[in-house]
């Protein structure tokens, strides 16, 4: 890949965000492995933090890709990220504790193929297409894995397909229906992630686009998704662990939401309450 990515004026360059996002996501996913060492699920919240880190990287990739005049393609960029990511993520879960790394490599390969097809076969000829689709596929795979860890406490295939049902409050028996994949929660994670990754740029696009405002919104979307995913995790992990995830998500969300409103106030033309349309010259 010899594609040169333009530096966004007056902001953090994309390469920096990409590297930071990738490292933070992988580290957070591996930190959730503490669950296995301590034999609890208290460290599941690291999955949620991995989601936030991956989303920040992904939303900036969408900004880079969609700067090439793909206006209505913003939501579909989120969809293709997770559509290609889900394959890599599901296959990677079979590789035990190497899963995050395998997901990264597999997703990159799938993204490369998709990018090649889009650019060369469909002739879209967008300079950053191949790199962006590769990044987006990795973001999709790692975000889904983050949600899986947050909800089930594990990123292995057995952990994602097996749950337990308690009968009469005493007898616990394994169940494949009550699990991340068997229960279809992977569909919810797919949409939570794909909307959260495309929304920040979709919401902030326009002549007054600012990098910090968009990235703050991404963090907000990530923590918001983490809140509801933490609520769902009550069904699959212990209440204590789910409460920890929920608290961290709530704190993160309140902080980022307030910050986002402040940044919007900073960038808005005016902040009016129940005022008429101002007279604009010429109309």
């Amino acid at each position: 890949m010899t594609v040169k990515v333009e530096v966004i004026e007056g902001g953090i360059p994309h390469q920096k965000i990409m590297i930071a996002g990738l490292i933070a996501t992988i580290v957070c996913l591996y930190l959730s492995y503490l669950n296995v060492y301590t034999n609890t699920a208290y460290f599941s919240f690291f999955g949620g933090l991995a989601v936030v880190a991956a989303l920040i990287w992904g939303s900036h990739t969408i900004k880079v890709l969609c700067s090439y005049g793909i206006g209505t393609g913003v939501p579909s960029a989120g969809m293709i990220a997770f559509g290609s990511g889900v394959i890599a993520m599901l296959l990677a879960t079979k590789f035990g504790n190497a899963a995050p790394i395998v997901a990264l490599i597999l997703a990159a390969v799938i993204g490369l193929i998709l990018g090649y097809l889009a650019n060369e076969v469909l002739n879209m000829k967008i300079p950053v297409m191949i790199q962006s689709l590769t990044e987006l596929a990795v973001v999709g795979a790692l975000t889904l894995m983050g949600f899986a860890v947050l909800i089930t406490g594990s990123f292995t295939f057995t952990g994602l397909t097996t749950g337990s049902v308690t009968l009469f409050g005493m007898i616990s028996m394994p169940s494949y229906q009550v699990s991340f994949i068997g229960g279809g929660l992977v569909a919810v994670a797919f949409l939570l992630g794909s909307i959260a990754v495309q929304h920040p740029f979709n919401a902030c696009l326009g002549p007054g686009w600012k990098q910090d405002r968009m990235l703050m919104l991404t963090a907000e979307c990530g923590f918001l998704s983490m809140i509801v995913a933490a609520v769902m995790s009550f069904a699959l992990i212990s209440a204590g662990a789910a409460i920890i995830s929920l608290l961290i998500a709530l704190i993160g969300w309140v902080y980022t939401y307030c910050q986002y409103i402040e940044l919007s106030k900073r960038d808005a033309y005016a902040w009016l309450d129940a005022k008429p349309i101002p007279d604009v010259e010429g109309h």
Binding site: L191, I195, A235, Y257, A268, Y269, V280
Partner: protein, 300 residues
């Protein structure tokens, strides 16, 4: 026989719920100017027409509603797995999904409007407060009805898909029905009441949407009020028919020819609708449309 009667009963109930869901969905998306009308609401300030209309574009309606309904269904599924009563589980799931929807709506409005600062479009806090709550209320009705349909399909009709996956599929269908049926009524009709009827949207009128109401300035609640009379019910009818016919053909004809019966009936239904649509389009163009070449006046 008893099973079929039970199935038809569930089908009718699901169809009724879908009708309510569809009309609430369309009204919600119109209050938020989502989908078809959004581009003009976004464009208007850039052409110098600063407005007081709510602009929340989370995504197209099908993906957005796929998220709200899948989320509602996923949360309901989780509550059901925790042995919460089904009705309560669906209500709680829908409530949390609506919370997410409302937050997304506010961030979309703030983001879009702040990025238009260059053109003098202010952020109206009163719009944010009053429109978001109304949109959330309509979204709740839509999500609750759709998740209930999914629950009925799963629990009463014994569909093998888990609840969240059904929420995903029916959410996309709901968003698509509202986006295709009700939205053009707002986007092509309501926004351009100042243009000649049936004229389409000429380039010169781009962004020149109606911004003033009978009294004062128009906001998105006026738009919701307007489209709730026709666009909403039409979307409801559309989604209701989709759900009803889909379940009806499955229940009655699934046993015929090892499942092929239901597929053949499905294709027949599509053919019948295609013929009806074509007939209606031709009829409407003949009677109302300006599509016929205007008769040339004799040169003076």
């Amino acid at each position: 026989m008893e099973q079929i009667v039970f199935g038809i009963g569930i089908t009718a109930l699901a169809g009724a719920l879908a009708t309510v869901a569809g009309s609430a969905e369309d009204t919600e998306s119109n209050i938020g100017s989502q989908g078809d009308p959004n581009s003009q609401v976004q464009l208007a300030p850039q052409m110098g027409f600063v407005h007081r209309i709510f602009n929340k574009a989370v995504a197209g309606e099908p993906p957005a509603y796929a998220l709200w309904c899948a989320l509602g269904a996923g949360l309901a599924w989780a509550f059901l797995a925790m042995h919460v009563n089904a009705v309560l589980a669906i209500v709680l799931g829908s409530l949390l999904a609506v919370f997410v929807q409302g937050i997304y709506a506010t961030t979309a409005y703030l983001g879009r409007t702040s990025s238009l600062a260059k053109f003098g479009q202010p952020v109206y806090v009163d719009i944010l407060k009053s429109m978001t709550t109304v949109a959330m209320a309509h979204a709740f009705v839509a999500i609750f009805c759709t998740v209930t349909i999914c629950y009925l399909i799963n629990a009463a009709l014994g569909h093998p898909f888990p609840l969240p996956l059904l929420g995903f599929i029916w959410g996309i269908a709901l968003g698509a029905a509202g986006s295709a049926t009700g939205n053009p009524y707002y986007g092509k009709e309501r926004q351009y009441q100042n243009q000649k009827f049936g004229a389409g949207v000429p380039i010169s009128a781009s962004g020149n949407i109606v911004r003033y109401a009978e009294a004062g300035e128009r906001n998105s609640i006026d738009n919701g009020f307007f489209t709730a009379k026709f666009g909403g019910p039409a979307s409801g009818l559309c989604f209701g028919l989709i759900v009803f016919l889909e379940l009806w053909r499955t229940i009655l004809f699934e046993k015929v020819g090892a499942g092929w019966g239901a597929i053949i009936v499905g294709i027949l239904i599509i053919l019948v609708f295609t013929i009806i649509d074509r007939y209606m389009e031709v009829w409407a163009r003949k009677n109302y449309g300006p599509y016929t070449a205007p008769a040339k006046e004799a040169a003076p």
